[in-house]
């Protein structure tokens, strides 16, 4: 078991920075656990957190759970065994993560959550999430305007275990459903995945060739949908995403995808590390556990100012 753990840690800790003599003797290390860095959003988070941690004098242990709650649980075991001082986490499921965070708390290790909430409070020290509802309403309003308040459209949903999938869909619909001439003809999950979105979009197009727009729960799915639309010669379809990735920024600037909503991922991760630092030094973050960060609409007007999930003034 112990050997397996060590192997796992060595395999996962791909981006360990600083000098650590051994895991057991980790003096002041912060673990940063996120979904796979294949999605640039999570890479930006991990990079933002790691940069701030190093700046504040910590070593880092950067791990990915690949949206697998079992793997996440093992990573928590590894981080606890390594004696990390705090865990920065973008979690692998709102319900499934409660036990993992509790396990760390029982071991005296505070967790600071970013991007995604868990369904319990009082276990993590901080939960800092983007105001997905506010952001989705911005995206929804832009989509309504782009659609001219009428026409058939499809929706790509995120991963069901992630609260953010539900809240974004709700934010979109609280706006879009107010317009009776906008008709939802297809709604399906693509699990935040670009490749899944490509396949889902292909079958949606076959079933509903008349669609005029696609609203997507995130940018990677918007990129997958756009690739399928391009392959089918349907670049007339209006696509709106969510996240504010550089990929979608580039597509917007080339006249492809029309809009997205920026989540301040980099700043959010940095804020979590600052709160962890304050908590470790003073025993308090000085702020409420659950915190929202407002999102910003990105379209052709301001896309050029966007870089790695941050907007320059």
């Amino acid at each position: 078991m112990n050997l397996k753990r060590r192997l796992l840690v060595s395999a996962m800790a791909v981006a360990m920075t600083g000098l650590m003599p051994s895991f057991a003797a980790a003096a002041d290390t912060i673990a940063i656990i996120t979904p796979s860095h294949d999605n640039p959003f999570f890479k930006a988070e991990a990079d933002g957190a790691a940069a701030k941690a190093v700046e504040l004098g910590y070593d880092t242990m950067v791990l990915v759970h690949d949206d697998d709650a079992n793997k996440q649980s093992e990573l928590f075991d590894s981080a606890i065994a390594a004696g990390v001082k705090a865990i920065i986490l973008d979690n692998a499921g709102a319900d499934a993560t409660v036990a993992a965070v509790q396990k760390a708390a029982d071991a005296g290790i505070p967790s600071f959550l970013i991007d995604r909430e868990i369904t319990a409070s009082g276990i993590a020290v901080s939960q800092i999430v983007s105001n997905n509802y506010q952001g989705a309403q911005l995206g929804g309003e832009e989509f309504v305007a782009l659609m001219g308040e009428a026409g058939k459209y499809a929706e790509l949903l995120g991963k069901e275990s992630d609260t953010n999938a539900g809240i974004r869909s709700q934010g979109y619909h609280d706006v879009i459903d107010q317009y009776p001439d906008l008709e939802l003809v297809a709604q399906q999950t693509a699990n935040w995945s670009q490749t899944e979105a490509f396949t889902v979009m292909e079958s949606m197009l076959q079933a509903h060739p008349e669609i005029k727009g696609v609203i997507s729960g995130n940018d990677t799915m918007a990129m997958g949908a756009w690739a399928a639309l391009e392959a089918a010669g349907r670049t007339d379809v209006i696509v709106v995403g969510f996240d504010g990735s550089n990929d979608v920024r580039d597509s917007i600037m080339k006249g492809g995808i029309k809009a997205t909503v920026l989540q301040p991922a980099y700043a959010q991760a940095q804020m979590a590390v600052e709160q962890a630092d304050a908590y470790l030094k003073t025993g308090s973050t000085g702020v409420d556990e659950k915190q929202l960060m407002d999102c910003v609409l990105i379209n052709a007007e301001n896309a050029a100012q966007l870089e790695t999930f941050a907007l320059s003034e």
Binding site: E117, N132, Q170, K290, L292, M293
Partner: protein
Amino acid sequence: MKFVTVTALCLASAMALSGCKIVPDTAENDATPAADASGDAARIEALLASSYDTELLPHIAAKAQSVATLRGQIAADFAAATAEHGASGAGAGAPVNFALKDTGTVVASKLDSRARTLDLDVDADGTADVVLQLGPVVRGSALRDVAPKLYDFTSFRDQIEFAKLGRALNDRASGSLTIPEGDLIGKTVGFTGVVPLKSAKDKWLVTPVALEVMP
């Protein structure tokens, strides 16, 4: 007889189900709507019934200032005005919410939309100072975020439930407004509401909780 058996079975299964329902241990959950999203509507209705008239409206009324007073405070020092008179909701980047009570003249109106608005001139210079959003589509969550002690994000299950509260407050407020028929340009309108501001340069988009069109 058969009927009795079926009823007994139903009762038994209902009891078995309710026996394993997990409900957060908070005061407003005594009536036990389900803790998951299926119970949101009932829980939020109960929360509105126990807080809107008795706590939120008095809170807004107590904090309300005139447009001119608030404008002066903000121009002098936005941070000080925020600390003294505003509430910034649950986190970073969010606007600061200020309660307002004032009277103005309608200089523009949009009443044929799902998002109806009235533009009011409150300082008699002929230009609009505030825009009142009359619904049914109301932007933002100013009514929820003006009272962060009353509606504390941490005590909600997740963003979904918290967002539903924001929507329910907007619906309740816009549903309570009576807007007379006909052209309102030139009419005098009194209002109480909340304005969310990120900086002194923002347009003032007010979510009213009370509105009176003078004859």
